[in-house]
């Protein structure tokens, strides 16, 4: 019996010693994963039977899968029996003022240009009653409600909008899709649900709201965004402020579903704890993000700024099913110290006249490894499909690595696919040139790196672009010297 089979055998044969009944009383599940844990999570959330069955099906499928070995990353084998898969969100200890917050954290906030109010919120300081986040939330909810836009936690949506969840959950990323998507489907903690009805344009970046709403979604986050016909939404996930989490493994799933003429813009800034300078600790970020351009003329656009996590494994993709649909992927991935990133995109052209763009900018510093991995696939019916891919790598120092793995599969002779790739090094010459004009090395690197990533940063929502620029500079601080 193979080692994996042996583990599987142990997993499925041993009885769960605490039993399901007593378990339900607890705030968190004991370590490990089995069917009882899945039932426990579902029961904790008061889920309907069909969702429990869905989770169990995912769990059983997960047992038959193997952890993917193909990403260009190295880490010790994950012991899934040593992980706690559910714990109730704990309210943070409330602090009375910013004076009680770790000064180092405040310094970082300052460098990022995060507002005082948000600093308070992020570090768990009690907020002034007038601008209480609850009232902000209520205002947002009212505005959105008038337009028929649903924006709530996924758990809430399961109860309030079961017909939508039943229809769309797993419709873009099936529970059987891959190892981590199956795991997420079995044990997902919570996440967001967003539905934009026919003909509605969401009038605000769903960013501000989301940032207020972001805490406590847990390590197996699941997001579902549905844009109905002629709908538009711009959605922002994440935060430039450093995020720490005691859970090392994060396996999130994001699904986007775009009907005819719909457009969804999804922007991410990921800054999870990357581990220390010696490469100890840090988040494993194994994410499945996919959008389906279901209807004709629909468009899905991914923009990501990835600076955090010890290991990132993430390929936001678009399935271009509708004719004339458009998929875009704009990415800046920065790795420093011992970080490893294997990230890129997949563009699957199924419909006629479908168009996709991939712009990937990788920046490697320290002893890190940064890989671009992308697939452009043109199906035989996808007449006149077009793709443009540009993958640029910037190296800082001579101990890091940049890798590019582009895959192209073309099954229709009318397709036009272009791929450009460059690798360059931040030169001493460039830095000296800046120095000679009075710019110190830190600011010189910030300028050079932001210039390199400009095409992607330009795609971010305005107020966020500025923070993201500062974040890039901050991540690379002291990496040349």
């Amino acid at each position: 019996m193979g080692k994996d089979d042996q583990i599987l055998e142990e997993l499925t044969s041993s009885d769960y010693k605490y039993g399901f009944e007593t378990l339900i009383e607890n705030d968190s599940a004991p370590k490990g994963l089995n069917e009882d844990i899945v039932r426990f999570i579902s029961a904790k959330k008061n889920e309907p039977e069909w969702l429990l069955e869905w989770r169990l099906k995912a769990y059983r499928h997960w047992l038959t899968l193997e952890e993917p070995k193909w990403p260009n990353v190295k880490y010790p084998k994950i012991d899934f029996q040593d992980i706690i898969f559910y714990s109730a969100p704990k309210p943070n200890k409330e602090l009375q003022s910013l004076d009680e917050v770790d000064p180092e954290l405040l310094e970082t906030f300052k460098k990022l240009g995060i507002s005082l109010e948000e600093q308070k919120r992020l570090s768990g300081v009690a907020v002034d009653a007038v601008i209480d986040s609850v009232s902000v939330k209520t205002t947002f909810k009212e505005t959105l409600g008038e337009l028929g836009i649903i924006f709530c936690s996924l758990s809430e949506a399961v109860h309030e909008h079961p017909e939508l969840i039943k229809k769309y959950l797993g419709s873009v990323v099936p529970m059987t899709d891959n190892y981590y998507a199956a795991l997420n489907s079995a044990v997902f903690s919570d996440g967001s649900f967003c539905y934009i009805p026919k003909g509605s344009r969401c009038p605000m970046e769903l960013s501000t709201y989301f940032r207020i709403n972001a805490s406590g979604t847990g390590q197996f986050e699941r997001t579902l965004i549905v844009a109905d016909e002629d709908a538009y939404v711009s959605y922002l996930e994440g935060c430039t402020a450093p995020q720490r989490d005691e859970n090392q493994l994060h396996a999130a799933v994001v699904e986007i579903y775009a009907e005819t003429n719909a457009e969804v813009k999804y922007s991410t800034v990921q800054n999870w704890y990357p581990g220390n300078k010696e490469g100890v600790g840090g988040i494993y970020n194994f994410v499945t993000k996919r959008g389906l351009c279901k209807g004709n003329n629909s468009k899905i656009s991914w923009t990501q700024v990835e600076t955090g996590s010890a290991i990132t494994w993430k390929y936001p993709s678009c399935i271009l099913k509708g004719d004339n649909s458009v998929g875009e992927f704009y990415s800046v991935a920065v790795t420093n110290n011992y970080q490893q990133a294997d990230t890129g995109s997949k563009m699957i052209h199924l419909g006629k006249n479908t168009k996709s763009t991939i712009i990937s900018k990788g920046i490697s510093a320290g002893k890190s490894q940064n890989s671009y991995r992308g697939l452009v696939k043109v199906h035989k019916n996808a007449t006149n499909a077009r793709n443009f891919s540009q993958c640029d790598s910037l190296l800082m120092g001579n101990k890091c690595g940049a890798h590019t793995f582009p895959y192209i599969e073309i099954n229709n002779s009318t397709a036009k696919v272009e791929h450009e790739a460059t690798t360059s090094k931040i030169g001493e010459d460039q830095i000296f040139y800046c120095n000679q004009r009075g710019i110190d090395t830190e600011n010189a690197i910030a300028l050079i790196v932001n210039g390199f990533a400009k095409k992607v940063l330009n795609k971010l929502p305005m107020e966020f672009a500025v923070e993201a620029q500062k974040l890039l500079a901050l991540t690379l601080e002291e990496s040349v010297g």
């Binding site: 000296f432 040139y433 800046c434 000679q436 009075g438 300028l447 210039g451 390199f452």
Partner: protein
């Protein structure tokens, strides 16, 4: 303004400057000429603080301060400017953004308030007119895809913006056609005042028709072997460098 005493410097263990002595006062233009490999560009790089070069002996005093221990950015902030022989390209960074960062870091160092966008734009417009540089060059990424002449014009534009006390032009004339040369020289002349000084490093006399020096120095084998006025430049143009080499080598 600038006092160089017995400066010895080299790179990777190879001695290039072997005892340079030079004094530059405010209001003066000095030309440093010499054959290839005599150490002209090394001198410019050492003054600007390029890390690869090691100073083994001697002193350099700029506005009363020893600059050899200063970081290159601090020398720049003190008012030392180097117009590069080969200006580097920085993709994706606009001249506007680059210069605003530079100007404001310099201002902060000098205890001045940073310029806001409006005042900075005004400064840009004023200096653009002064050095005859086109808006379209400023809008592009810094030096990216610029011709040789455009790069040199941009160096002079940066000099105009930063208003240095001492400007060192390192072979600014190399690779320029006559029109570009005139534009560059006009810029330098307009920026000239009683309070600042210029060191023109060049191989040819040509540039000195436009930028007229008070002093001409010949650098050979790591030392200044001859100094004179503008007529020395004409003599070199006529006779080449060989007679100087012979003179020096026979003494040695």
């Amino acid at each position: 303004m600038l006092k160089i005493k017995n400066l010895h410097a080299g790179i990777e263990g190879q001695q290039i400057l072997k005892g340079i002595n030079l004094e530059v006062k405010a209001g003066e233009i000095h030309a440093i000429m010499g054959p290839n490999g005599s150490g002209k560009s090394t001198l410019a790089s050492v003054l600007a603080g390029r890390e690869e070069y090691e100073v083994t002996e001697g002193e350099v005093e700029f506005l009363g301060k020893n600059i050899l221990d200063m970081a290159p950015e601090d020398r720049a902030r003190e008012g030392l400017f180097l117009a590069f022989q080969y200006p580097v390209e920085i993709p994706g960074v606009s001249s506007n953004n680059f210069l605003k960062t530079a100007v404001n870091q310099v201002r902060t160092y000098r205890g001045l308030e940073p310029l806001d966008a409006v005042h900075f734009l005004k400064l840009m417009k004023e200096k653009m007119a002064m050095v005859e540089i086109e808006q379209k060059l400023i809008n592009r990424s810094l030096n990216e895809g610029f011709s040789g002449g455009e790069k040199k014009k941009n160096e002079i534009f940066q000099m105009a913006i930063l208003e240095p006390k001492l400007s060192i032009l390192d072979e600014t004339d190399s690779g320029l056609d006559i029109d570009a040369l005139r534009v560059v020289a006009n810029g330098v002349n307009k920026l000239k005042s009683e309070d600042n000084a210029t060191i023109v490093v060049t191989h040819y006399q040509r540039l000195l028709d436009y930028i007229v020096p008070n002093f001409v120095h010949v650098l050979y084998n790591g030392r200044i072997v001859k100094s004179g006025d503008k007529s020395l430049a004409f003599e070199l143009e006529e006779k080449g460098y060989d007679w100087i080499k012979e003179e020096v080598d026979s003494v040695a």
